[in-house]
């Protein structure tokens, strides 16, 4: 495959064969070498062959091989001629990140760190095979699917300011539950308000470095040592089942003849099936927003109980990492609505976009990029240039480089816990084997990923945060 280097951090696969547009990869030399090792680049090329794709098939710096579309893939499709694909969103619909700030300093919580984490572990259910604390009726679930985090706030989980500081206001307006299978609804009921396992986590963090003081201040980040809380989870079994269901439905209806990969299965965006998937996906996005809203509320409760107050625990932002959205962008000098697929990518709107909250409109939206367990995470800010570069998208995390199986062979969870403890990081987990699978050595260097984002202008560095306490489901 021909790969052309355009500049230090930009590479392209020129249009050839069935490709309707070129593919473009944002990566350093080190990261492009990692991408060449698996199917990432071939998958980016395959995406470039899909009907109605606009401009380019984009690959973010943290990309790795996915199903059909690469993880870290961004593709925009024309609403009339283009498609929507469950494989372009991923199984964990609206897997995402929420970040809360506090007025506490690291020194304020040092003595109570263990207690805080233990209480969080008690209050926030991991919910693996056991379900959450809520006993939902079918009708309430349906309401949540339509209203998202708004439902949670109405029920007393958090405040309306949280909604303003959530992508889409915590509610995708196109959501409906009518086209979601019974199975998916059933999987959604016991898992609301649960974190889940795997790479999902909840961290108490401290600010380690501030790169842009002005923007940081707008986001509510004032100084090194300030305590933050990060929540990383998604739409749980409900989203997974919706993806599985629609892959089968689309395959039965349209088949996969002519597709370079079965998992690129899709439907025309405007078709009945395309719209059913889109509206169901929006509902799963809402479920995930409600999920993180509830978890954030419990975290505030724990701080109030252990620290005596939830001082200044305002939400900075909540972002989606796996989603398809209708957004306005400029293509060939003309503004048009597109269906943007971000699979393992973060939206990075710059200053002035009407979609972002008024408080951030002068600087751009906060972009939240979690690292692997126990390592640094980053806060970036969206840019105007990103519209041109990547339909306003950047990286979403570190990305694995080692299989879980290999990690299990190499590491022991208890040993990781002890090593983190030496670095001053407290860890609580449901399973030590699960911890070993998520060892940070099994992941790419997130520092390198955000450096590329910053240098290319996909998203600019604002602050680096490191964990003090980690809860792993």
């Amino acid at each position: 495959m021909e790969i052309v280097r355009i500049s230090d951090f930009i590479w392209e696969i020129p249009k050839s064969g069935e490709m309707k547009v070129p593919a473009r990869i944002y990566a350093s030399e080190k990261l492009i070498e990692l991408a060449k090792r698996d199917q990432t680049l071939q998958q980016a090329r395959n995406v470039a062959c899909l009907p109605g794709i606009q401009r380019m098939s984009y690959v973010m710096p943290d990309a790795h091989q996915g199903y059909g579309f690469p993880i870290g893939g961004v593709a925009a499709f024309d609403l009339e001629e283009g498609i929507i694909s469950p494989g372009g969103v991923g199984y964990d619909i609206n897997c995402g990140v929420r970040l809360l700030r506090t007025d506490f300093k690291e020194s304020d919580i040092t003595a109570k760190r263990k207690e805080l984490l233990a209480e969080i572990f008690k209050e926030v259910p991991a919910g693996v095979g056991k379900g959450g604390i809520t006993k939902l009726s079918r009708n309430v679930l349906k309401e949540i699917l339509v209203k998202g985090a708004e439902w949670a706030v109405e029920q007393g989980y958090g405040i309306s300011e949280d909604l303003e500081r959530t992508e889409e206001g915590g509610r995708m307006k196109d959501a409906t539950w009518e086209f979601i299978s019974e199975r998916a609804l059933e999987r959604g009921i016991p898992q609301l308000g649960t974190l889940g396992a795997g790479n999902h986590f909840l961290e108490i963090q401290k600010v380690d470095e501030i790169y842009d003081e002005n923007v940081a201040k707008v986001f509510g980040i004032e100084e090194k040592g300030q305590v933050l809380v990060m929540i990383h989870c998604g739409s749980r079994g409900l989203g997974h089942q919706i993806a599985t269901d629609y892959i089968e439905l689309m395959e039965n209806k349209y088949g996969f003849k002519g597709l370079p990969d079965r998992e690129l299965i899709n439907a025309p965006f405007k078709s009945d099936l395309g719209q059913r998937y889109y509206k169901s996906m929006c509902a799963a996005v809402n479920y995930a927003f409600a999920n993180r809203q509830m978890i954030a509320h419990w975290v505030r409760d724990v701080f109030a109980k252990v620290m005596g107050s939830a001082r200044g625990m305002r939400q900075i932002y909540d972002v989606c990492h796996n989603v398809a959205k209708v957004e306005k962008h400029v293509v060939n000098g003309k503004e048009k609505l597109l269906c943007i697929h971000r699979k393992g990518a973060t939206r990075s709107f710059g200053p002035g976009r009407p979609e972002i909250p008024a408080v951030y409109r002068n600087v751009g939206q906060p972009v939240l990029i979690p690292g692997s367990m126990g390592t640094a995470s980053y806060i970036l800010v969206g840019t105007k240039e990103a519209e041109e570069l990547s339909f306003s998208s950047t990286a979403h995390g570190a990305g694995r480089v080692m299989s879980r199986h290999e990690a299990l062979r190499r590491f022991r969870g208890e040993q990781i816990r002890d090593e983190l403890a030496k670095k001053g990081v407290e860890l609580k987990a449901s399973s030590w084997k699960g911890v070993a699978e998520e060892a940070s050595a099994a992941y790419k260097d997130v520092d390198e990923v955000v450096r590329v984002s910053h240098e290319t202008g996909l998203g600019k560095l604002v602050a680096r945060v490191v964990p003090i306490g980690v809860m792993k489901g």
Binding site: Q65, R183, G237, T244, R262, E263, G399, S431, K433, G434
Partner: protein, 166 residues
């Protein structure tokens, strides 16, 4: 055959290859391979039974749905699979007919990837226990996928390869 399955290296998710003298045995072992990523199935007491019936248009789809059903039973009922006690896979009459017609029309078997019109039915009795403190859940499988799917028949039986999303 001694070995039921093996877990293969896959960077982001999990890949396995299941073995069986018969197709049914390979399918049952694929279910065990998937749950082995989440819990130690050999330690699960065989106290409760779940009967499942899955229908699909292709074998690949049948497998995805069968494994999804096991995830569903875990998430919704807390059911931990320990053993596949009985399993039967059949291709329905309608599907046989469709295959025969396709063969006559195209002069070749309609098996393999483009076999949209086949109807597979899988019936199984799953034995296991309800989740409690005595079991450790290591990780969660999110979904079964079509990625890197392969079914091969050799002289000593079947090899079934799948990737699951984690």
């Amino acid at each position: 055959m001694e070995r039921k399955f093996e877990i293969l290296d896959h960077t982001a998710d999990a890949k396995f290859r299941a073995y069986g003298r018969t197709l049914e045995e390979a399918v049952a072992n694929a279910a065990l391979a998937m749950v082995s990523l989440m819990w130690d199935y050999e330690k699960v007491a065989l106290k409760t039974r779940e009967e499942v019936e899955i229908k699909a248009r292709s074998f690949e789809s049948l497998m995805v749905k069968f494994l999804s059903e096991i995830l569903y039973l875990f998430e919704v009922k807390g059911f931990l699979l320990g053993k596949v006690e009985e399993i039967k896979i059949e291709v329905t009459e309608a599907a046989k007919k469709a295959r025969k017609e396709a063969r006559e029309k195209n002069g070749s078997s309609a098996g393999g990837q483009n076999s949209y019109d086949q109807d597979y039915i899988l019936r199984a009795i799953l034995a296991g226990d309800l989740h409690s403190e005595k079991y450790e859940i290591m990780s969660e499988v999110k979904a079964a996928t079509y990625n890197d799917f392969a079914l091969e028949k050799g002289p000593d039986g079947y090899r079934l390869q799948m990737v699951v999303d984690m």
